[in-house]
Amino acid sequence: MYTEQVMDHFQNPRNMGEVENADGVGEVGNPQCGDVMRITIKVDDDERIEDVKFKTLGCGAAIATSSMVTEMAKGKTLAEAQEISKKAVADALGGLPPQKMHCSNLASDGLKKAIEDYRSRHESK
């Protein structure tokens, strides 16, 4: 059902946890659906993602996509990171079962929300 990459990221999640004093926080999902993801980012002066971490409640696909999106986002500019799509995350994992694409692959939305949060904080300064 799951690819080797999905199982690898599920069993050995990268960047799990919470960035201290995060510059941006994005939380998506709903416990009623079974998936909630929280992405926290640290952004440097050049607007690059210096650090990114996740915490996820969800199935194997939800945890694997969260882990993968943090790997893909690290070191990218905010503009580049914002372009990471659900499909790109799924492709990087060698694909996901169709029924997992919707609720279980919210990771890129979580990242986008964290970036938006950073921008709204930045603009308000």
Partner: protein
Amino acid sequence: MEKAIFLDNAATTRTDPEVVEAMAEWLGDNFGSPATLYAFGSQAKQAIEQARQHVADLIGADQKDLYFTSGATESNNWAIRGVAEALEEKGKHIITDQAEHHSILMPCRHLEKRGWDVTYLPVDGDGLVNPQDVADAIREDTVLVTLVHANHEIGTIQPVEEIGAITREKGVYLHVNAAQSVGHIPVDVEALSCDLLSLSGHKFYGPKGVGALYIRRGVRIVPWLLGGGQEKKRRAGTHNVPGIVGIGKAAELARRNIGPEMERLTALRDYMIELIEKNMDDIRLNGHRTKRLPNNVNVSIEGIEGESIMLSLSYPTAEKARPVFVSTGSACVSGTLEPSHILLALGLPAELAHGSVRMTLSRHDTREDAEYALNALFEVAERLRAMSPIYKRGAKQCASGSKGEGCDCEAAS
């Protein structure tokens, strides 16, 4: 890989070696069709009739009232649709409950599309149907009450004897889906006062693809498969001789072992529940505490999701760890996004239903296996809870039932 611990026996049990041996005789040279009159085939017919006797003995039935099928799903479909078709002149109303197996709910919904009225009775927080609700729901046009004996997911055993007395008095047929109970607890068609009863071989150490439907003599039901004259012209098709011999042997063994095995598994089940409640916070035992199958442990673990637990246990990261196979009522494994309708029928909020784990024991499982599995579960739950953004913080959010953002389950399902 170390030897796996299989705790998904409500899904299927390991075929007993004695069953395999009995079946093997009918898989090789001894391939004659039981429908023929010459000796080569009539030996197969004798083997089928002997198996029928063993299965009938296990449920206290007359062997003449037992019909072999491909399993409980077929038996359930035949019971509901067969009675409906036979009695539609009398009335078009069926009673069941909200926590039934899909092989009951789907035929009911099929009939609804054809103009039938189906009452889906509620269950209480333990999954029990109230017999009075059954009595109150029976109408002039009711032709069938169909209920599970023991729920496949939460193990709750229904008060079928009481309900059987009601249906008997009111002159309504009672069908019992006993797929999970036959071979594990005493099942007697007379004591249950049922008119039809379904069972399945692979749930009690027999082979897959063979089951039976008990039909009390005189019950009006249309034939299920039309063709040859097999099964008294009610279920045509060449008999699955190895499978039928296998279910017969499994029934014979079950009858022999049922008492001590029930006692042993009940003690092991209660020990597991005690360990879980002692070692884990924020969990809920699903199903009735005592009116439950001896082999069923079902808990919801707050703050985490069932598929992740199931996957983590079945693919241990440590090299020498033993894989543990369990199941879950979470949506993710079913592909529908909706968690188990049974857990929802108990009144669980969706987030708790998503975090359910079902462990069902077999005659092969020891106390040591159970302890190993639970220790693995405790470790996995701790790891996943540490990863969860809502555990502890999420309790209020869950209780409020408020919709979050970013997930549109209704649109997706």
